[in-house]
Subunit: 218 residues, 2 copies
DNA sequence: GCTGAAGTAGACCGATCTGTATACCTGCTT
DNA sequence: AAGCAGGTATACAGATCGGTCTACTTCAGC
């Protein structure tokens, strides 16, 4: 299972945004792009099962024939929606990662990226988690995308943690992962305001203490 | 049968399990109980919108007429499902809380309760978070139950934190909340094995350090 | 000038959705 | 003995679901 999914990259946690994910079977014509845009908004806001293809087509300003000519099925639209969201997030995150000089800064930058990404993109929590709530079959093609993003994020955190502390990196990376996931949920559910920012500060403190115990690296 | 059955009491985090939630409008006949049981399993496993009332009735061994005579609508079944799940969880948690002597132990016991509750009850993450993913309208009656449980959990954590550290209790309580929510998500998504147990240990360490800084209380 | 890709417009299909109706049966309680 | 709550069995209604189909249009490239 845990085959070396991806290098989290020494310097800048890079990684192909589409590793191991089936290549795009859809030719992205202008109409298809509008369909994907409308579907992304509707699926995220209202839930996947609650949105019909007729509504997607209407919101996209295309006919159902165009929709089916491009995507073939609703399931494929769901897959493209999740794959596209995953890709956009990784690109967005890469900017924050590249701007952070040290591994510790990079780890903290993930939270800053999520905090900023949440504005306009995550009013209802993590799209992957929400999609997972509606998918029961692990054989569903969307499953791999969801699990893939989470595995990649965990790899990113543990990889960065390994550069902060030689020993106990897995433990630290996992704790950062828990903090991050919890922040997304708390933000989406509006449990308290500024959840992601608080998680960012918590991560900062956690990393500072971890580095203090083992000050080999900065 | 609809009286405020349980009280979660303990050192902190008091609150009726049904505070501010509409009283049960449904008379729980044997048939209604079977409907609720079947609906709970199906809603959690497959998602709310993916499950039809015909399937619920069939799985419950009841006709659709009985189902509608008791609940009136599918929406009401959803509400009862969430209210019932919330109540069961609070009762389950109360046992762990009562058995823990100190506030610190109680806070850690929440994670232990979730870890044990997950066996058989939470293979797909938090039912409230998953339901939230499928509900778009904040005016939906289920919304209050979902938000109510999260607010209650936050109050529980911050209340216990206040007994550990006089100052910075809100910050500590919120961090515990983030850790806990993240653990539920990571457990449901199977990001890595033993997520809730690791969160329990993280919370333990966090509370020990917090108490060490301000050793007024145990 | 023709072809093919990308599109609109809209009818249509069978299945499934939530919800209702009619008729009958059973076991308690008064 | 009567009445009623709780139930079975089943048919039905109107809407919506995912998906297909025919016919026509527009436009770029060879």
């Amino acid at each position: 299972m845990t085959e070396g999914t991806d290098r989290v990259g020494g310097g800048a946690g890079k990684g192909d945004a589409r590793e191991a994910v089936a290549p795009r079977r859809v030719t992205m014509t202008p109409g298809a792009r509008r369909v994907l845009g409308a579907a992304a908004r509707l699926f995220y806001d209202r839930g996947i099962h609650a949105v019909g293809v007729d509504l997607i087509a209407a919101e996209a300003g295309v006919t159902k024939k165009t929709l089916y000519d491009r995507f073939g099925s609703k399931e494929q639209i769901v897959v493209e929606y999740l794959a596209d969201r995953d890709e956009r997030w990784r690109v967005f995150l890469a900017g924050y990662l590249d701007a952070a000089p040290t591994p510790r800064d990079k780890a903290v930058a993930v939270f800053a990226a999520s905090r900023d990404w949440a504005v306009g993109h995550m009013a209802k929590g993590c799209g992957m988690v929400n999609a997972h709530a509606e998918i029961s079959d692990p054989a569903h093609p969307a499953y791999a995308i969801i699990a893939g993003q989470k595995a990649w994020m965990l790899g990113l955190f543990t990889g960065l943690a390994a550069e902060v502390v030689p020993r106990g990196a897995e433990r630290l990376g996992r704790t950062l992962m828990l903090l991050h996931e919890g922040a997304l949920v708390a933000s989406g559910l509006r449990v308290f305001p500024g959840a992601i920012e608080q998680a960012r500060r918590d991560a900062e403190e956690l990393l500072r203490r971890a580095a203090a115990v083992d000050p080999a690296h900065g």
